[in-house]
């Protein structure tokens, strides 16, 4: 059900805006001293999650570093190249391409615009001026799995995803490992809907898992996550004791009545830190990792539902977080970055 051509329109408008602003800037030549940072997303930034965090990061770079910023929403892979072309030829220094899907177009653009630096969120390919920004969200997702494994009374938990790209599968592999760390007998259901924004599909996927008896459901979706929360809400209204877990951004206040906690990436901070590193000349040739250790990944409980947590759970999660930070506990990963060839740990793939 992906008719992504349909997403082209906003991108086209913004693309025009980029071209226009580039023309307007001709007289003053802002490229001389001002950082020019751009953001590409392949979905709407109004998802209160993955893309929203990137957009906030762009605005944070504008506020904190006085950068000139621009955002463009792209749809088809053909548009990826157009978007890189628009920014590369307008002299943008730092281009954040916020998603695994951009990695090939980024490599092409990187060789064409050697003066630009392209940061691909969750990307897997590396060049001198093309670097993946790898969010170790699986660390937060593992902690979420521990929480879910502790909270489930039915012994069944569920995961609803959009498209099974490696970063998304990685979060689910880690979630499952976290659940099994608590109790290896818990059943873990997995559904992919094929669309990050189809709220109805995500809702029905969650309904199907709830009907199988799942009582804690995590997602890895964009705006479609609203559908998961709605399904859980309706099950609660029917008298069931079920909970959801947020992902990507701190979604605890998106549905504070049913979200027990969120596996979060502090995307804005990661973007700002990356921009600072770029200014210091430290970005290039190797992936940037953002993990619990850097304070960019975490699992945060919903303060409004703290009262219903079993005793000791918050402390257990805090201990596991410390163990991940110190390297004592290694979270299983799905490896997809060039050169990321640490010996594979148990559980991944």
């Amino acid at each position: 059900m992906q008719w992504s051509i349909a997403k082209a329109f906003p991108g086209t408008v913004l693309c025009l805006a980029v071209v226009l602003s580039a023309c307007a800037g001709d007289g003053s030549d802002p490229a001389e001293d001002t950082l020019q940072a751009a953001l590409l997303t392949s979905g709407p930034v109004s998802d209160a999650g993955w893309y929203a965090g990137a957009y906030e990061g762009l605005l944070l770079i504008e506020d904190s570093l006085g950068a000139q910023v621009s955002h463009q929403q792209t749809a088809t892979p053909a548009e990826f190249d157009e978007a890189f072309l628009a920014y590369g030829s307008s002299g943008y220094d730092l281009i954040f391409a916020h998603g695994f899907e951009y990695q090939d177009a980024a490599i092409r653009a990187g060789s064409r615009f050697p003066d630009a630096t392209i940061v691909v969120s969750g990307g897997g390919r590396v060049a001198d001026n093309v670097v993946p920004l790898i969010f170790r969200l699986e660390e937060g997702s593992y902690l979420a799995g521990m929480a879910a494994g502790t909270l489930t009374q039915a012994g069944i938990v569920g995961m609803v995803g959009g498209v099974a790209i490696p970063p998304a599968r990685g979060t689910f592999v880690a979630f499952e490992a976290g659940v099994r760390a608590v109790n290896p007998d818990i059943e873990v259901l997995e559904t992919f809907t094929g669309d990050w924004n189809d709220v109805s599909a995500a809702k029905e996927a969650a309904v199907a898992q709830l009907s199988r008896g799942a009582d804690v459901i995590i997602h890895n979706l964009d705006a479609a996550s609203f559908g998961v929360f709605q399904a859980v809400r309706e099950a609660v209204a029917d008298g069931r004791r079920v909970r959801a877990i947020g992902m990507n951004s701190d979604q605890n206040d998106v549905a504070p009545d049913v979200i027990i906690g969120s596996a979060v990436i502090y995307i804005p901070q990661a973007f700002l830190e990356t921009a600072r590193r770029w200014e210091a000349g430290n970005v290039g040739g190797e992936p940037i990792y953002a993990s619990i250790r850097e304070g960019v990944i975490d699992f945060v409980f919903n303060p409004e539902l703290l009262g219903e947590l079993p005793e000791g759970l918050v402390q257990e999660i805090a201990d596991a977080r410390d163990q991940i930070r110190s390297g004592e506990l290694e979270v299983p990963r799905v490896r997809f970055v060039e050169g990321d060839d640490d010996p594979p740990s148990g559980g991944s793939e």
Partner: protein, 308 residues
């Protein structure tokens, strides 16, 4: 699947099928008079946002559906003016309306609720349980414990069938779709018929969008129509441009979508993409055999100018 799960599966099938049915029934009428409106997707997403904004403004889901219907109609009005009034290419115009609808709804949503979005909690259409019918084993609750928009689809299918095949107006409409020149010679006002049929299609697509936001998910998200306008056009073909069959085809498509979610939840270790492709494969199979004798209206998608 045991019986309880089968019932849940059937309920999900109807929930997923109803918005397709509403949009496809409207499209059936416009295609029957020669207008293929692939701007349907634009009308659906406009209906979803219109429904959400209307329901928030009036704090009433039913009025929200009305606003959504009007929003869908306005999208179709743009299409009708350009494609029917000015005789522009229907496919290109429809594409523009769809892209415009998706872009405009995104811009309006962000202007109203902030660029990074929020989960709206909308007033929702309550389910209406039909006493007696809802007690039928297996299919009772699936068919007769649904939002009012579902019953609208059930009632429209036979009503539109009667209109198309048993009334003089329906005959005129079909004549316009088969041979607009002949229809004009017989005194039918071709442009007016096509205009009204297109607006009717937009109205129903708007209701379909409002159903997504107000009856199914209780929220709005950008791009939440997720290609349903295009699927609805496939449903029209599958239903052979016959409203009764179109309703059945829409429910069949809903069932195929629901099936994939249930299979995945049952834990089948098969690539999920196969499940996602399943409805489309079934449609292709059905198209190959079942719709073999079906024929599109002869003047479908052909721009027409009065010869007078």
């Amino acid at each position: 699947m045991n019986q309880a799960e089968l019932v849940l599966f059937l309920e999900a099938s109807v929930r997923l099928g109803v918005p397709l049915a509403l949009a496809a029934l409207g499209e059936t009428i416009s295609e029957r008079c020669g207008v293929i409106n692939i701007g349907l997707e634009g009308s659906i997403i406009a209906g979803a946002l219109g429904g959400a904004l209307g329901a928030l403004a009036f704090e009433n889901a039913v009025l929200g559906v009305g606003v959504g219907a009007v929003a869908g109609l306005l999208c179709a009005l743009v299409f009708a003016v350009v494609a029917v009034g000015l005789g522009a290419d229907q496919i290109i115009t429809g594409t523009a309306v769809t892209l415009g609808g998706l872009g405009m709804t995104g811009a309006i949503y962000r202007a109203r609720f902030g660029a990074t979005g929020t989960e709206l909690s909308l007033p929702t259409l309550a389910g209406v349980r039909i006493p007696g019918l809802a007690e039928i084993p297996l299919v009772g609750t699936a068919l007769f414990d649904q939002a009012a928009t579902a019953y609208l689809a059930y009632l429209l299918a036979p009503a539109l069938w009667f209109f198309l095949f048993r009334t003089p107006y329906g005959l005129e409409l079909r004549a316009v779709g088969e041979s607009p020149d002949a229809a004009e010679a017989a005194g039918v006002r071709v442009v007016r018929v096509r205009f009204l049929a297109t607006l009717f299609g937009g109205l129903l697509a708007g209701v379909a969008g409002a159903h997504l936001a107000l009856a199914h998910t209780g929220t709005f998200a950008e791009n939440m129509s997720a290609g349903r306008g295009f699927i609805a056009i496939a449903v029209v073909v599958l239903g052979r441009w016959n409203p009764a069959l179109v309703l059945a085809a829409a429910l069949f498509f809903g069932a195929a979508s629901a099936f994939q979610f249930f299979l995945q939840a049952l834990g089948f270790e098969v690539a999920y993409q196969i499940f996602l492709a399943l409805p489309y494969l079934l449609t292709l199979a059905a198209l190959a055999g079942w719709v073999g004798r079906a024929r599109a209206p002869a003047a479908l998608a052909l721009p027409w100018e009065s010869k007078r």
